[in-house]
């Protein structure tokens, strides 16, 4: 045959060699008639089955009738004694997955095979039968299966055990009865039988913690033969460790010694599994980590790519949580940058970027530069993200990192990759003031030769916001005006807007901007011309369009406070008459998903998807929404808006959640309602709030929702007055009241008459934490020292018996609603004391810092020392009152 071995990539020529060339379903189905011959030619039958399997494997499908016909024909082949043919029969039966009434036909044949003397028959018949069987049949063959599990032939035993694993999904109660046999099989001398038995036994008992723990205890002392079974045992052992560490306050970690012992196993599979298990232990200490890291480090220099990949992937994860532990491997990692396998190289780089120290950055960047040219875009994006976080970690190194980003920005790359780079540069410009000028220039250079309209417009917008604030804004004008000359209409239009922004902000540039804008009046695109005309008039300041300079800036930089969807509908409904379209008539209420809508509602996307913008925009969105409602516009500055709290169970008729808005003297409840019944239209929806359990609150206003059609969320508001500056707390009971109208589902029209109805909601509460803003501080110690001990209040509290220390810490943190600093909210497993640092801003804009020290004794009684520092004595006291209550 050797002469035919040809490494020819030419498709046509190669296809000629295929024995299945020109195969057709119809013809093969015809051929299947040989199955009915009285004198079976087993070789030919075998070939036909292979052809059928080939067709199925290529994605061909048989109709129900065809499948049934083939299936019945195939059942005839059980007469043949040919093992090879029988094996093919088993295969095709599994592929055809017959219906239950068809299964009956082959059941007896398969059961006969199950009890045959030939082991191959037995093993395969078990697998086929278990695959196609249903519950009723299973009880009939259960007896045989139990026997098979403890069969002395390992192939038969494995077949029964693996089938058991699959059957456990569909018929758990039957399979669970086999646990004695399975238990026996766990002790089998055959390696894979033990593996399969262990897997099945664990699945049978997985909900019984004690049983799993016992199983692991006995097996870790005994002998486990196959590496696969050993891997399973490691997984189960780490499961036991995970679950026990929650209850176990003291003492050594159980089974750690076992895991560590597995690091010396002879199979790499087991070593790796154990090392990975150790790295993923909850609150793993560096002493526990060291042996695992050591073996992984050895794997890094293995000749096998799979091993290198596995090790570097695990180390990469460890680097996120324990960067110091991985630094020992950095030399080996660096050599992996040139690894043939680009997945490995990328993982190595990103680990290095995570663990690297400030001094090594420059050297690392040099190595990466060579590497970037020969990896795919998706890997490059990973690297860019890692570099961005590195730069935020070491702001002093921005120069070399920014240079690197601008260099790769100039190279070839797809849209996603370029977008990742641009986003990174934008974020660096925002967070590192020193990087602003050079970053903006890099972006300017990039748009000189940028093929992506989206990126060009985004950058132009960003330039318009940031450029005028730099020391020498004039140097950007050239780049921007070049866009007006060279680019497509979309980019030209946004360049015009950017020019106008420079004109508005920088007086010295104004005359020159005017000249440039006037040139744009002759552009051949109307949007560009319109914008230029508009801006010329606004900036011209003759008082005809806008009155003051402030208006100009508002107009240029402010974003549209109307949801675009609403504007669109209003414009569609507008009929050209004498009356002008009035933009203030557009409803400002957000129809669905207030946050998501609001964010995208700007005149154009304002941020380049930069994360720092997100938190403020949430508050902004609420603030705008509330100030747009006349009743609430006098309440002043919004202090805090809570996260939505559900007031209904999931999947009820009406879904309602509430957002609490806290003002100095008022509280506004925003009820977001969704009607989930297609046949109903709700009108005049209000929430009637009973504040009898909240004495300090007095209702001042309600804003009903006019209509709530199916699946379109709407909001209704209730406002309360409360004493100024006082953190009043209380409980409110809510009832949803509305007029319900039937909707004809076919026409979508509502009936004239409605019925009044109400719907009980869960209670809402105003708690102390609602008066606290989560605001983090970057350096707690400095902030603590600078506040000084003047208004420090210290007291001790007993928290009573608690489930665990971390549960107690979480409870206090949630009670206060403050931001945990420096990761101190995480309690190390098994620790007996903990201190936690919190910061926040209390109502009235008073900065508050809290130091909590917890201790737990043997009876799980938790004691806490609370130290508060703030800018105001009364606030410090207030915090103590919150806890005391």
């Amino acid at each position: 045959m050797a002469q035919f071995v040809k490494k020819d990539d030419d498709r046509d020529e190669e296809a000629e060699y295929s024995p299945f060339l020109g195969i057709e379903k119809g013809a093969v189905l015809q051929d299947a008639r040989v199955f009915n011959d009285p004198q079976l030619d087993s070789r030919r039958c075998s070939q036909v089955i292979t052809k059928l399997l080939y067709l199925l494997n290529q994605g061909e499908t048989f109709t129900k009738v065809e499948a049934t016909e083939v299936f019945f024909a195939v059942t005839k082949l059980f007469q043949s004694k040919d093992i090879g043919l029988r094996r093919m029969v088993y295969l095709i039966i599994k592929e055809l997955s017959p219906s239950s009434d068809e299964v009956i036909i082959v059941t007896s044949s398969l059961m006969k095979d199950m009890n045959s003397k030939t082991d191959v028959y037995r093993a395969n018949a078990i697998r086929v039968l278990c695959r196609i069987t249903d519950g009723t049949l299973l009880t009939q063959i259960e007896r045989y299966l139990k026997q098979a599990i403890v069969d002395k032939n390992p192939v038969v035993a494995s077949a029964a055990l693996v089938s058991g694993i699959h059957l456990l999904q569909t018929n758990p109660e039957i399979v669970k009865r086999w646990s004695n046999e399975v238990q026996e099989a766990v002790q089998s001398r055959a390696a894979l039988v033990q593996f399969h038995a262990l897997a099945l036994l664990h699945q049978i008992r997985q909900n019984d913690r004690l049983a799993v723990s016992k199983l692991v205890t006995s097996l870790t002392r005994g002998t486990v033969r196959s590496p696969l079974a050993q891997c399973l045992l490691i997984r189960y052992a780490s499961q036991v460790i995970r679950e026990s560490s929650m209850n176990n306050q003291s003492g050594d970690r159980p089974f750690y010694d076992y895991l560590e012992g597995c690091l010396r196993h002879k199979a790499e599979m087991v070593i790796f599994e154990a090392a990975r298990a150790i790295t993923e232990l909850n609150g793993v200490t560096s002493r526990e980590l060291t042996p695992a890291i050591t073996v992984l480090q050895l794997f890094l220099s293995s000749s096998k790519p799979v091993l290198r990949f596995a090790a570097v992937r695990t180390l990469n994860k460890v680097a996120m949580t324990h960067p110091m532990a991985v630094t020992n491997c950095n030399i080996d990692m660096e050599s992996l940058i040139s690894d043939q396998n680009r997945s490995i190289a990328t993982l190595a780089i990103t680990s290095l970027l995570k663990t690297g120290n400030e001094s090594g950055v420059d050297r690392l960047m040099k190595q990466i530069t060579n590497f970037m040219s020969d990896i795919a875009d998706e890997f490059k994006i990973v690297v860019v993200d890692a570099i961005r976080s590195l730069c935020l970690k070491f702001p002093l190194k921005y120069r070399s990192l920014m240079n690197f980003l601008s260099n790769i920005l100039r190279e070839e790359g797809g849209f996603e990759y370029k977008k990742a780079i641009v986003d990174s540069i934008v974020i660096l410009i925002r967070d590192i003031p020193d990087a602003k000028e050079s970053g903006l220039l890099h972006l300017c250079e990039f748009i000189e030769d940028c093929e992506f309209t989206y990126l060009s417009t985004q950058i132009l917008h960003f330039l318009g916001v940031e450029g005028p604030k730099t020391s020498d804004p004039s140097k950007y004008i050239r780049y921007i005006y070049n866009r007006v000359i060279l680019e497509n209409a979309t980019v030209r239009a946004s360049a015009v807007s950017t020019l106008a922004k420079f004109g508005a902000m920088v007086d010295s540039l104004k005359p020159r901007i005017f000249i440039l804008l006037r040139r744009c009046l002759y552009d051949n695109d109307d949007e560009v011309r319109d914008r230029a005309t508009l801006y010329l008039n606004t900036l011209g300041g003759d008082g005809s369009v806008v009155e003051t300079e402030k208006d100009v800036k508002d107009f240029l930089f402010g974003s549209l406070d109307i949801p675009l969807v609403n504007l669109e509908t209003s414009l569609k409904n507008y009929e050209p008459t004498e009356e002008h379209f009035d933009i203030s008539s557009v409803p400002k209420e957000v129809k669905s998903q207030p946050l998501a809508e609001k964010k995208s509602a700007g005149k154009k996307p304002t941020a380049l998807g930069a994360p720092p913008a997100a938190p403020t925009s949430t508050v902004d969105a609420y603030e705008k929404l509330l100030s747009s409602i006349p009743e609430f516009s006098t309440f002043g500055q919004l202090f805090k808006s809570s996260a939505p709290v559900e007031l209904t169970e999931a999947e009820t008729e009406y879904a309602v959640n509430v957002v609490k808005h806290i003002f100095d003297k008022h509280v506004v409840f925003q009820y977001n309602c969704t009607n989930t019944i297609p046949e109903q239209l709700l009108e005049n929806v209000v929430v009637v709030v009973d504040a009898s359990e909240a004495e300090e609150f007095a209702e001042v206003a309600t804003k009903p929702l006019k209509a709530l059609p199916y699946d379109t969320p709407g909001q209704t508001f209730v406002a309360f007055e409360k004493p100024e500056g006082v953190p009043a707390v209380g409980r409110f009971s809510n009832v949803l009241k509305f007029i319900v109208k039937e909707v004809d589902p076919s026409t979508g029209e509502a009936e004239e008459d409605g019925v009044e109805d109400e719907y009980q909601l869960e209670d809402s509460e105003i708690v102390a934490a609602d008066y606290m803003l989560k605001v983090g501080v970057s350096n707690f110690r400095n902030a603590w020292e600078s506040l000084g001990p003047d208004f420090e209040r210290i007291d001790e509290y007993g928290l009573g018996p608690r489930e665990s220390l971390s549960e107690a810490v979480n409870a206090v943190v949630n009670l206060l609603g403050m931001q945990p600093c420096e990761g101190t909210e995480v309690v190390a497993a098994n620790s007996r004391s903990h201190s936690c640092l919190l910061s926040g801003v209390y109502i009235g804009n008073v900065k508050v810092l809290v130091r909590l020290s917890f201790g737990v004794d043997s009876s799980k009684e938790v004691a806490m020392k609370l130290a508060v520092r703030s800018e105001d004595e009364s606030v410090s006291d207030a915090i103590h009152e919150i806890v005391a209550n």
């Binding site: 045959m1 050797a2 070939q47 494997n57 004694k81 077949a159 499961q239 790796f272 599994e273 998706e378």
Partner: protein
């Protein structure tokens, strides 16, 4: 660190692919519903093939990660072997399966591992896949054992040692001869 839901579960295999040097199917087997349609399967095969095409996976098993799957692969002549597992799978377990598969195929095809030979013995390829993985569970990883189970082609105990076997052997020989003459 997010803990994958199935991490206490057994190592499971998502699919085993045997493609030719043009990325076309020789024999494939899927064990999850992750690729519900034939189109989705073909798309997956295509992208795996394109991603790995330029790498050299002849001496050592190579590995690539994409779409939250880990794929280990190996090329022998114009046959490309792939084994896919989930994100969290022990890479070395996948490697063991791949090794078992390629060893078994090498044994069954008597060293002539290429696409044509594989297609001509496609029944063995199917049986081989069937003996390695059962609905995602690893059945056996030892190439010798797998090949041994596939290659039992003699009659079972009940069958008389009739002339049929001899005539079959002759038929096989004749077939091979005509095929080689026709080319």
């Amino acid at each position: 660190m997010a803990i994958p839901a199935r991490r206490d579960a057994c190592p499971t295999i998502k699919n085993v692919l045997l493609l030719d040097s043009g990325g076309r199917r020789v024999a494939v087997k899927y064990y999850t519903d992750e690729w519900p349609t034939n189109g989705a399967k073909l798309a997956f095969e295509r992208s795996v093939f394109l991603k790995t095409q330029k790498t050299n996976a002849r001496t050592e098993v190579e590995i690539v990660m994409f779409e939250n799957n880990v794929v280990v692969y190996k090329f022998i002549q114009d046959l490309h072997f792939f084994v896919t597992g989930g994100d969290y799978e022990n890479e070395l377990a996948l490697d063991a399966v791949l090794q078992g598969l390629s060893d078994a195929v090498t044994l069954l095809l008597r060293g002539n591992v290429d696409q044509r030979e594989a297609l001509e013995n496609l029944n063995m390829m199917f049986l081989c896949l069937d003996e390695i993985i059962d609905a995602g569970m690893i059945l056996e990883t030892d190439g010798n054992m797998i090949a041994g189970k596939v290659a039992t082609h003699n009659m079972d105990d009940g069958a008389p040692l009739s002339e049929q076997t001899i005539s079959q052997a002759l038929a096989t020989a004749r077939e091979h001869l005509t095929r080689s003459l026709l080319r």
